[in-house]
């Protein structure tokens, strides 16, 4: 199962952090710092895999991918395949790119909840449930449409279930 997904920039600022097992905020920060420390020390052109047992405890692996100013980090256990997770990152980023047209770091920052929505469609409860970029897009677009609809309705009158009539 996937234990955590993190997105951080090359300065170590967290842009997104989602832990699929509950951890207190302080612990999360500690882990994020630990991950960043390891990522910084990695040379270019080395593998994308890191043995994460010293940070996350037994049976944990870490795969990261570096895009422009962002590191995308997935932490998972032995039930996943490293190369496949690397491609999962690719799917995630491709989807973000489709969603935001030439995604950049600021898109992730400003559309925080949308990035979460995308991630929630892909990974649910630590399990990868959707790996097709177009399917994810479809789902996300539908959500956005519905939300936008309900939002505009909710803004005008205070009708109880305006979105249902859609």
């Amino acid at each position: 199962m996937i234990k955590a997904v993190m997105v951080m920039n090359t300065q170590g600022k967290t842009r997104l952090a989602k832990f699929y097992e509950y951890l207190p905020v302080e612990k999360q920060q500690e882990l994020i710092r630990g991950v960043f420390a390891v990522l910084c020390s990695r040379a270019e052109n080395v593998s994308n895999f890191i043995d994460a047992e010293s940070i996350f405890g037994l049976d944990s692996r870490l795969v990261y991918k570096h895009f422009a100013t962002l590191y995308f980090v997935f932490v998972f256990d032995s039930s996943e395949n490293e190369l496949a997770v690397l491609d999962l990152i690719q799917v995630f980023v491709e989807t973000l790119d489709r969603c935001f047209k030439n995604v950049c770091e600021l898109d992730v920052v400003f559309n925080y909840s949308k990035v979460h929505t995308i991630l929630d469609v892909m990974i649910f409860g630590g399990q990868v449930v959707e790996t097709s970029s177009s399917e994810i897009m479809k789902a996300v677009e539908e959500i956005s449409k519905l939300e936008a609809a309900s939002n505009s309705i909710a803004l005008i009158p205070k009708s109880a279930s305006g979105w249902r009539s859609r």
Partner: protein
């Protein structure tokens, strides 16, 4: 750029993000965030906030918390948002609570109801949001509240809902398998879902279920194989293609499941061969995801029942991985190789070069993976190279976690495959020096034991050479600034035992060094204790040798410090040292025999050395001792005493009339009580005063003549518990009997007493038998267990001390005799004259070739290794016999010695016990095992002569 998502963002939030982004330092960032928290705290509690504003505040809160600041003040608002009717607000609320809360948070109780309602909603997005929360926030107790709805949703028309319901259900199963066990069949049903996405998602819980219990899912093999076949044949919608691969993630999951199901199951595996072979062919090895599937195929092939054709394809794929330029692929290749060599070890050979490349690669991840592979393929032939490499790497890294792991692996490999003891010691020194505090203390004890036992084949040269080289190296190492505590303990111990043994260093030099250690590491009590005991040993050896002991001034001041130490252990050791120095040479020698650390100290639990003393005392009229369990009526006493206490406590507080404790008293006191005159008012005096009963007893016992009276007394006295054992009642036979170790009793007046004594006597006999039985068992089974163990472990260090405990029953003197006998046999130069023809004739015949060629051929190596074990077994049997026949003599010797030492200088024995015994307990070994292992080591040494800078690295590693 930020508005493309269609989400409303205020200027404020943009500014916040921007200013955080521009913050130069963590402090500046913190200041900004704290300011933001203040603003939010104020704003969020204002009345009548528009919903979209509220939504933004919550998003900002999430953001703040992601940056590591406490946002708990806003949790309740997030919870409130989940109650909202607006989808957008509701979803934001759910997102926030899943990020903020955990399943045991107090606020969950406010959400469960909302979740229940939302799971029934018509809008599938609301249901999805609620399922999201279910996954994260429902704990074992709240599962029943939502379980029916979630199960219902498994058949929801929307596939997204079905998918999430499956995962939520899976989550329940993970949290509390028992609560959903009756519904597990739903996972199987969903496997046949029309939607490939749902089917793929179902594979996750099935994988977990199959991991736990393979057998109940064997029937699904056919289904999985046919699904995999369909996927590979591109029967799924195009949307699932990824980089021209048909649904690779589903393929990977399926292959993982098949690997589990086919493991060790020939029939199941046969069903899989075709489809796995197909995938091998179809996989596009130019894309990343293609390789991911290939790798999963290799894992599957190495897990299921082996098929030669598939193994061949797997080996091909591995070689492609390893030849790749991509670090990722090489990493996967090394990992796959590690899996495959378990089945076909020979494939490692063709990849030697690639493996070495990976080992030298600057990429740490790859390096570690390669070490893992090397660890798996370590053999006696390549252990030196591998462990050397590991140590070099261990020295070069700072990561404590991995350092510990690699250190323990080094130790494990060294213990398992060490070619010679010398090499082992050197290796251990390196490990200790660089990772000392991270290794297990047992490893240190093993090292000490090895140094103490030495090679044994040549007492005067090899052994002392080893020791003096150890002493030399340790004296050298001591000059380094900061050494790990464990290593210092070893150093102190070795310096104490062997520092002055070869005469190279003077006692004052060694003691000076030891004092330096104790001073330099003055906050480590264990090291100091080791140092003091080492000092004591040095001084003891000096006294024994007849030299005058001059304590260095620094040593004296150290002792003074320790004598006043807060650590009782240190204090005791210091006093012991003082006491030893004051004794004469003869006494010191028996306390601290030189080079005797390997000899067993037999603990005479029966204290038989006191027999004479007791006999004397008894003849002088002392009462024999009765062990507590044998004292008649002991049980009753304790029972009674309990009752007594109970009553006493209750009566201690109230002063009004009390009811007579009729039943108890009646049961204790025989009905025909004659002595009732004195004893009937029992309860009353008891409460009046505590001392009163004593006088009663003494008066009763003073006229003790008739047994009947005593019997009655018996019953009564028990009531007063403790006093019955006071000296005042010494003549009262029931209570004051003292028997010491089976000495015949003086007093035998009471019938019940004599009965107890009989049983005691018989039990005593049993007790006497057991040590002999144990000895027999130890010499027979201890020996046999060793022969069993030996070939498996191959090195003496790897013995656990589990049977050492038994072994310690073997008397020390018999050990000495045995080892003395062995020693002359083992003079190495003329090997051909040996009693054991097989080993000796074999070893030298192999040896010269090897030395000439500087090469090792694996086959001869194996052969000679076999010889070791067989001869080791052969040499063992006579030893066992010898040990057994010598045992009785040993016992006598031992006893005498114990009486002497036990009576003359008890502190002395204690001192020995203080530190030496702890090591001895572990180092105690029968001579047979030791010698055979020494032989083993010798033969290895001759056969395997390692040329340290080995030019043929690959040969060594992989040959």
């Amino acid at each position: 750029m930020g508005s493309q998502g269609g989400f409303y963002q205020s200027k404020e939030f943009l500014d916040l993000v921007k200013s955080i982004g521009e913050a130069r330092s963590k402090a500046e960032e913190d200041r900004i965030v704290l300011g933001e928290i203040d603003t939010l705290k104020r704003r969020i509690s204002e009345p009548d906030i528009p919903k979209r504003k509220m939504k933004e505040y919550i998003i900002r809160l999430v953001y703040v918390e992601m940056l590591g600041h406490d946002a708990s003040f806003g949790y309740i608002h997030a919870v409130k948002m989940t109650h909202d009717d607006s989808l957008l607000v509701k979803r934001t609320g759910y997102l926030a609570v899943t990020l903020f809360l955990n399943e045991d948070h107090d606020l969950i109780i406010l959400i469960v109801n909302t979740i229940q309602k939302d799971l029934k909603s018509d809008n599938y997005l609301v249901v999805c949001a609620a399922l999201n929360a279910v996954c994260k926030l429902i704990n074992e107790e709240t599962i029943p509240a939502v379980l029916p709805q979630v199960v219902e949703l498994l058949a929801h028309p929307k596939e997204a809902v079905r998918k999430k319901a499956i995962m939520g259900f899976h989550r329940f199963y993970q949290k509390s398998p028992s609560s959903v066990s009756h519904l597990v069949s739903n996972f199987r049903k969903r496997l046949c879902d029309n939607d490939p996405g749902v089917m793929g998602a179902t594979l996750c819980p099935l994988f977990d279920l199959i991991t736990i219990d393979v057998n109940s899912y064997k029937d699904l093999v056919i289904s999985f194989v046919s699904i995999l076949k369909q996927v590979a044949e591109r029967r799924l919608p195009k949307a699932y293609d990824y980089h021209q691969m048909p649904a690779p993630f589903i393929q990977i999951k399926l292959l993982k499941i098949l690997a589990l199901l086919g493991s060790g199951d020939k029939q199941a595996s046969e069903n899989m061969y075709t489809v796995v072979g197909d995938i091998f062919r179809k996989c596009d090895s130019s894309s990343n995801i293609g390789n991911a599937v290939l790798y999963e195929c290799i894992c599957c092939v190495s897990s299921i029942y082996p098929n030669p054709k598939l193994l061949e394809s797997a080996a091909d794929a591995i070689s492609r991985f390893l030849k790749s330029d991509s670090h990722n692929l090489r990493y996967m290749g090394i990992d796959a190789l590690g899996r495959l060599i378990k089945i076909s070890p020979e494939i490692a050979e063709q990849h030697q070069l690639a493996v070495i490349d990976c080992l030298e690669d600057p990429d740490d991840t790859l390096k570690r993976k390669t070490f893992e592979l090397l660890y798996k393929m370590t053999k006696p032939t390549n252990v030196e190279v591998i462990v050397d490499r590991m140590i070099d790497y261990m020295i070069s890294i700072n990561d404590n976690h991995y350092k510990t792991e690699i250190a323990s692996r080094c130790v494990e490999l060294a213990e398992q495959f060490a070619p010679s003891n010398q090499w082992f010691i050197q290796t251990m020194n390196k490990v200790f020096e660089h990772a000392g505090d991270l290794v297990n203390i047992k490893v240190a004890h093993n090292l000490m034991r090895l140094i103490a036992e030495g090679f044994g084949e040549d007492d005067d040269t090899a052994d002392s050479q080893l020791r003096s080289s150890a002493v030399d190296s340790y004296l050298h190492i001591l000059s380094e600034p900061k050494l790990p505590s464990v290593f210092l303990q070893v150093i102190c111990w070795v310096l104490g035992e062997y520092g002055t043994a070869d005469g190279k260093y003077s006692a004052s030099f060694i003691t000076g060094k030891l004092c330096d250690v104790a001073e330099a590491y003055s906050n480590d009590d264990t090291v100091k204790a080791y140092a003091v005991t080492a000092l004591m040993k040095i001084y003891a050896f000096e006294i024994t040798a007849g030299r005058k002991v001059d304590m260095l001034p620094e040593c004296q001041s150290l002792m003074e410090e320790f004598l006043a130490s807060h650590s009782t252990d240190l204090q005791q050791r210091a006093y012991e040292l003082q006491a030893v120095i004051g004794l004469d040479a003869h006494a010191v020698e028996s306390i601290m025999p030189s080079d005797a650390s390997c000899e067993d100290i037999e603990v005479d639990k029966a204290l038989s050395f006191l027999n004479d003393y007791i006999q004397d005392s008894i003849e002088k009229g002392a009462q024999p001792y009765i062990p507590e369990s044998e004292r008649s009526g002991m049980l009753n006493i304790s029972k009674f005493r309990n009752q007594d206490h109970h009553e006493a406590s209750s009566h201690g507080l109230r002063f009004e009339a009390y009811e007579l404790p009729k039943q108890t008293v009646q049961s204790r006191i025989p009905p025909a009580s004659l002595a009732s005159t004195e004893l009937v008012p029992v309860p009353e005096p008891m409460y009046v005063s505590e001392s009163y009963p004593t006088t009663t007893v003494s008066s009763a016992s003073s006229d003790a003549g008739s047994t009947e009276l005593k019997l009655r007394l018996d019953g009564v006295q028990k009531k007063w518990g403790r006093q019955t054992h006071s000296p005042a009642t010494s003549t009262s036979s029931t209570t004051s009997q003292k028997t010491v170790n089976g000495i015949t009793q003086v007093d035998g007046s009471n019938t019940s007493n004599s009965r107890t004594r009989e049983t005691y006597e018989s039990r005593k006999q049993q007790v006497e038998i057991t040590p002999e039985k144990q000895k027999l068992a130890a010499s027979l089974f201890g020996g046999s267990s060793k022969t069993e163990k030996k070939p498996a472990t191959g090195h003496k260090i790897s013995k656990s001390s589990s049977y050492m405990v038994e072994k310690s029953h073997v008397p020390k003197s018999s050990m000495e005799i045995a080892s003395e006998k062995k020693a002359p046999i083992q003079q190495p130069p003329d090997l051909l004259d040996f009693g054991e023809p097989t080993v000796q004739s074999n070893a030298p015949s192999v040896d010269p070739f090897k030395e000439l060629e500087g090469l090792l051929e694996p086959t001869t190596e194996v052969a000679s290794a076999k010889n070791h074990s067989s001869t080791a077994a052969a040499t063992k049997s006579p030893d066992i016999m010898g040990l057994y026949t010598e045992t009785p003599a040993g016992i006598h010797n031992k006893d005498d010695g114990d009486i002497l030492s036990g009576l003359s200088n008890p502190p002395g024995t204690h001192m020995l016990g203080g530190t030496t015994r702890t090591q001895v307990a572990q180092s105690s070994k029968g001579p047979n095992l030791k010698d055979s292992l020494q032989k083993d080591a010798l033969v290895r040494q001759m056969g395997v002569t390692p040329s340290s800078p080995n030019p043929i690295l690959f040969k060594d590693l992989l040959g």
